[in-house]
């Protein structure tokens, strides 16, 4: 996004102080990323001996060590994360879209109840859900499976809530009426008329869900035992845990952390202009 044209020709003086303050903030936010970038170039011995921000000579070795670690289990973790986040976010967006649309467009009995239940769902601490979810899935022998991490995350109260706001804002009632006049069924109206209108908002829902699933730690931590199915967050956590006994693993953890955030940052830069958060701010008036 470019800077907005000035509404009023005010003082054109270049505001030094705000720029400097923001740069400080940016520096603070980029610091750990810069550090991990430098630290991943250090060999195990350099990590603890040379100055923090001095690049080392071991980046390629670190990457190949990480790749060799337990026959490439790290890349398996990355693929798992991509799978959980991609498929999970896609399904979640689809469910959010139909549910949000129904809540925005129709008047029906129980609408308020549905909405309040959803709100309560947003506020549920994940652990109160995750522990009994684990026990219930254990009853049907489904724990420690891809589905055990995927299924509980598909219904996202927050996603439904956002989709409802987008549907209410983007789909005018008379367009739906016109569709009915033309004799279209409700499902067809949704699919051919409303869905394209909601699409920009749904991209935002998808991104939210993708980040939420990719960053989720608690659910896989509780559900999974077999590290072949781990997402990268959980994999790195277990590596770090072992690292307290074998510091040699620290370089692997750091390199792994860097490689794990690169795709996310790339994704972020590529699609950040699709984020339409303007409706979020108005969302509090309920």
């Amino acid at each position: 996004m470019s800077t907005q044209p000035l509404a009023v020709p005010g003082r054109r003086r270049f505001p030094l102080l705000p720029t400097a303050a923001l740069l400080l903030g940016a520096l603070y936010c980029l610091l750990p990323v810069a550090w991990v970038l430098v630290a991943s170039t250090k060999s195990g011995s350099e990590l603890f001996s040379t100055f923090t921000f001095l690049p080392g000579s071991g980046f390629t070795d670190n990457v190949s060590d990480l790749t060799e670690y337990r026959d490439g289990v790290y890349w398996k973790w990355m693929a798992n994360s991509a799978f959980y986040a991609g498929v999970g976010a896609l399904l979640s967006t689809a469910v959010s879209a139909v549910s949000g649309y129904a809540l925005a467009v129709y008047r029906f009995r129980g609408k308020e109840t549905v909405f309040n239940i959803l709100l309560a769902g947003v506020l549920m601490p994940p652990v109160i859900l995750a522990v009994p979810q684990y026990l219930l899935l254990a009853e049907v022998d489904m724990t420690d499976s891809y589905l055990s991490v995927l299924l509980p995350l598909i219904l996202s109260p927050y996603g439904v809530y956002l989709a409802r706001i987008y549907a209410a804002a983007a789909v005018p009632a008379d367009v739906i009426e016109a569709g009915r006049m033309d004799g279209g069924g409700e499902w067809r109206i949704f699919r051919t008329i409303a869905l394209p209108m909601m699409l920009p908002g749904l991209v935002t829902v998808f991104l939210f869900q993708f980040v939420a699933v990719w960053n989720n730690f608690l659910l896989p931590y509780i559900m999974l035992g077999d590290d072949e199915k781990f997402p990268v967050t959980l994999g790195l956590y277990t590596l770090l845990q072992q690292g307290s006994n074998t510091p040699a693993l620290y370089t692997l953890v750091i390199t792994g952390a860097l490689l794990a955030i690169i795709p996310l940052i790339a994704l972020f830069l590529a699609i950040q202009r699709f984020w339409s958060l303007d409706l979020l701010s108005g969302a509090v008036k309920s």
Binding site: P15, G25, P32, T52, Y106, G121, M124, V127, T233
Partner: protein, 308 residues
Amino acid sequence: MTRTPRRKAYGVKSAPYAFLVPATVLFLLFFALPIGYAVHLSFRRTEVEGLGLGKGAREEIWAGLSNYTDALTDPELLHGALRILGYGAIVVPVMLGLALLFALLLDTDGLRLRGFNRLAIFLPYAIPGVIAALMWGFLYLPDVSPFLYLLDATGLPQPDLLDGGPLYLSLANIAVWGGTGFNMIVIYTSLRAIPAEIFEAARLDGCSQLQIALRIKIPMVAPSLILTFFFSIIATLQVFSEPTTLKPLTNSLSTTWSPLMKVYQDAFVNNDIHAAAAQAVVIAVATLALSFGFLKAANSRTKQGDSR
């Protein structure tokens, strides 16, 4: 409850129910059922006979409110709650204060590097909490930390960033780092939605940038401040992955540092799912009460303020 829509344009009555089928099924399976099961478990306990070996040696019996009295009188749970309150008292004001400040600064006329700064401050949002905790954890670690290196070089005393009071600040810093940018974007977006005429009028009246920020901008973005405040409180109460990740790096983080960690510990390490269930229910009720109380308070405040 739900009926399939008839294949006619008259399906309008039943259509919303049909649209809500997937959400309803998922809700029942992954929200209602687990919550019901947790409540059920919280009223029961395991009776062990003899050594607890073999079949029939363990049975579940009705426990009444005993799990709840245990949970409410559990000193460790109380301490965890107090720790979280202390942590939240640092995180929420600092994070939202910074988010508001940065949003207002971004909204300054004629600013350079606006896009770069906005993106850089928002970037941590894309980084998983576990990885953020891991990166900061290394930056706190005595042998690796650049901060401690600099303090050492200048001959100043080095605090232990992973112990005692500094540990709270270290944990809070991870949350502030991760959350400021997202909240800044939400506030900034609503700042951009303020009509330009308002500023024009204020400038003609001779208001300075600072006065405009304090008297016009902040009151006008109050709804988004409430929203960010609300979500920040919830996120803070649910902190789990950051302290769990830092645990291998320090001995001062117990496995029961936060209430949620204690629930996990009781359920999966001590194998006492009944105690864990009761604690989880208590935490959930407390969270809901806090959140709805806050929303009610915020709503009545904005209603008073909406008399424009």
